[in-house]
């Protein structure tokens, strides 16, 4: 990949290979990550050139997203990357803000770092999907010849009973599953943080009312509450995301409230109150930033949970109609004897995503908790 030599600032030939200068200067982990990133771009272009070029003639939205991702990867690997990494690394050596300490602690946790790399790979694969697979997820073709094929080189995860490539469906499924997860987790975490902060800060009657609502919602088994609520609507992607987001916030609210209860008594909040600041300003500017640690951990672990729950919903037939991981498992289940690989591999996709999210979440918890001794 020497097509963009003009992007590198230095004149040393080592800069042509992404990460090489970093490795040579001793920062091996960053260097190898950068090299892998560059290599992935090379591989995608080398094996999927016609699909990359095809973007200009077909021009679906997901193809343009993939194209944008590819351009960004190349820009990072050959352009901004070396500069960015160098500066960040230098700062990290001197600085000692809360986040930098946490980041350094996080990097010491090998499992968490592995989880983070897995997540990056999963996200990149999701974004680059249209370039990665030669098949169409819904393309059926010659059923008699292609149905229920076991895993092979042409179909690494086999084909289902309609002759559709399972790897392609799993890759396209990740898009829906992850989109639902990300949006729903943003809704539930924001709502939970808000309710928890308000309940904890005001205390008294407000706290009592809000926490009783939380108790009520937590008493329902999550899935029972979800399917009961979803039954009231006509199922669509938006409804599934909204219902997930608006039913899963109570656990976050509880965590945040607990943190806020102790924060409320600290001097800096008292000082803010003495300065005459209003409650909204104290909550959003002084309290919420200080509970970000637990909230980020809850969000990471919550994302894994929502992916599991969404898969369960789809499996029961209450999910979206698009091929999410849950739907693939559900479709493969009646055909288990003839093509067990459909269900198996779709499940592994879920397990790997959730495992890496849990690894990162645990790592973040350890890194962000100041009470743990270093």
């Amino acid at each position: 990949m020497s097509e963009r030599p003009e992007r590198s600032r230095s004149h040393s030939p080592a800069t042509l290979i992404p990460g090489l200068t970093l490795i040579l200067s001793g920062r091996r982990r960053s260097g190898f990550s950068m090299m892998a990133l560059g290599l992935s771009a090379v591989v995608v272009i080398a094996f999927g050139l016609e699909r990359v070029v095809g973007t200009f003639s077909v021009g679906r939205v997901d193809q343009w997203v993939a194209m944008l991702t590819l351009v960004i990867i190349i820009a990072i690997a050959w352009g901004i990357g070396p500069w960015f990494t160098r500066n960040i690394e230098l700062e990290a050596d001197w600085g000692s803000s809360q986040w930098k300490i946490a980041w350094r602690e996080f990097q010491k946790n090998r499992l968490a770092v592995i989880g983070m790399y897995l997540l990056v790979i999963i996200c990149l694969a999701t974004l680059l999907t249209p370039f990665l697979t030669p098949y169409d997820p819904a393309h059926i073709g010659d059923i008699a010849a292609t149905r229920n094929l076991p895993p092979s080189l042409a179909h690494p995860m086999g084909t289902d009973k309609f002759g559709r490539d399972v790897l392609t469906r799993v890759l396209y499924g990740s898009r829906v599953s992850l989109t639902i997860g990300f949006i729903a987790v943003s809704i539930s975490i924001s709502l939970g943080t808000f309710v928890g902060a308000v309940a904890g800060y005001f205390g008294g009657a407000v706290d009592n009312v809000l926490m009783r609502i939380v108790d009520m919602l937590i008493s329902f088994p999550r899935l029972v509450l979800l399917i009961t609520v979803i039954a009231l609507f006509d199922i669509s992607l938006t409804i599934v995301i909204l219902v997930l987001g608006f039913t899963l916030w109570p656990s976050t609210a509880r965590i945040v409230r607990g943190e806020v209860l102790s924060l409320r008594e600290r001097e800096f909040i008292e000082a803010a109150r003495a300065l005459g600041l209003g409650a909204p300003r104290i909550i959003f500017r002084h309290i919420v930033p200080n509970v970000m640690g637990p909230v980020i951990v809850a969000a990471t672990l919550g994302l894994g949970n929502i992916i599991l729950i969404e898969a369960g919903l789809s499996f029961l037939g209450f999910g979206v109609q698009a091929p999410t991981w849950g739907v693939i498992i559900k479709d493969g289940y009646p055909n288990l004897t003839a093509a067990p690989w459909v269900t198996t591999f779709a499940g592994f996709a879920i397990v790997f995503t959730v495992v890496s999210l849990n690894l990162v979440g645990d790592g973040l918890r350890d890194a962000l908790d100041p009470r743990l001794n270093r």
Binding site: L111, R212, I213, D215, M216, L217, I218, S219, F220, P221, R222, L223, V224, L225, I227, T228, V229, A231, L232, G304, L308, I309, A311, G312, F315, L316, G317, F318, G326, I329, Y333, L336, T337, P340, T343, T344, G347, I350, V351, V354, V355, L357, N358, L359, D362
Partner: protein, 330 residues
């Protein structure tokens, strides 16, 4: 202690009333009313209006709410449109099945979880500990219904193709009993039931067991560091006695609270696992009821799920208060 128990019980009352109110409001958000089931060309609008009047659907909402509440609390859950039976009789059939499945899983969760946790804590940072840590994380991240399908594949479908596979390791694929159940004697009936319980209860329990193992490990590690354990060792007690008699008792305390915490997860999982194994419990009931828009049955089942969680939490709290003398409740 008795005062605490009484107060804790009294706290559960408004919680259950709140849950009921929430269910009532949710169901009133649902489009249409029960008469919508009867809309046909041969049923005149006057008849529907009369039905609404008779069923009290024209009353103001607070009157409906109070009527519904008194009926519900006196155990009259109404009539299921989809199964054409009284809801009480349906649920009376189904609740024991769900309790059998969840109860077995609960025992499995804590037996496996505690055992694994102890082993990990005793051999901290060993290869075994690291393997188990990663293994529990892996299992913890699995969707229970997928695990159920994989178990079916590995222990029910797969072995049918392998001739040397021992017959008793071919587990049933679905249901609670074999076809010939009614012709069996008492012991073979019991055996048959247990046989059908194996795969569902493992599928349901194993992910929570992994979570319990993680808690147990850290709880045990905390206890092992304490002085009285060192004293016990210094007295020359065997390691087995130290761990299983002295350390275990205190390490188990925080684990008890997990019983209440894991009930909602357990029941969520039960909905899925029951669906996979066609287990005739509350989970399959609520899923079927929702698919058929049988709102009264949905209301009753989700209410009972919530009540079971509330009771379970109450029980766990009381157990904790009874066992741990350090905790005083005023």
């Amino acid at each position: 202690m008795i005062r605490y128990a009484a107060r804790r019980l009294l706290q559960a009352v408004p919680l259950i009333l709140g849950i009921l109110t929430l269910i009532f409001l949710l169901m009133h958000l649902a489009p249409g009313d029960p008469t919508a089931m009867l809309i046909r060309p041969d049923v005149s609008p006057e008849v529907l209006e009369q039905l609404r009047e008779n069923w009290g659907l024209n009353d103001p909402i607070h009157v409906q709410y109070l009527k519904w509440l008194t009926n519900f609390l006196s155990g009259d859950f109404g009539y299921s449109y989809s199964q054409h039976r009284e809801i009480e009789t349906i649920l009376a059939d189904r609740i024991p099945n769900t309790l059998i499945l969840s109860g077995t899983s609960l025992i499995l969760i804590f037996a496996i979880g505690i055992a694994v946790g102890i082993v990990q804590a005793v051999r901290q940072y060993s290869l075994l500990d690291n393997t188990l840590t990663f293994g529990t994380l892996f299992i913890y991240s699995m969707p229970s219904f997928w695990l159920a399908i994989m178990l079916i594949l590995a222990f029910a479908y797969g072995p049918q193709l392998i001739s040397w596979w021992p017959g008793w390791l071919k587990f049933p694929i679905s249901g609670m009993t074999s076809v010939s159940y009614d012709m069996m004697g008492f012991w073979s009936k019991l055996g048959d039931r247990l046989y059908h319980l194996v795969l569902p209860s493992i599928a349901l329990g194993v992910s929570s067991a992994a979570a319990v193992a993680r808690y147990m490990r850290s709880s045990m590690l905390e206890v092992i560091r304490q002085d009285y354990i060192r004293t016990a060792r210094a007295k020359g007690l065997s390691e087995r006695t130290v761990i299983l008699k002295h350390a275990l008792k205190n390490a188990l305390l925080p684990i008890i609270t997990l019983v209440g915490l894991y009930l909602p997860f357990l029941f969520s999982g039960a909905v899925l696992v029951e669906s996979v194994f066609a287990w005739p419990g509350m989970g399959t009931t609520i899923v079927g009821a929702i698919l058929q828009r049988d709102y009264p049955l949905v209301m009753a089942t989700s209410f009972l799920f919530a009540v079971m969680v509330v009771i379970g939490n109450l029980f766990a709290d009381l157990l904790y208060a009874a066992i741990d003398p350090r905790i005083r409740y005023e």
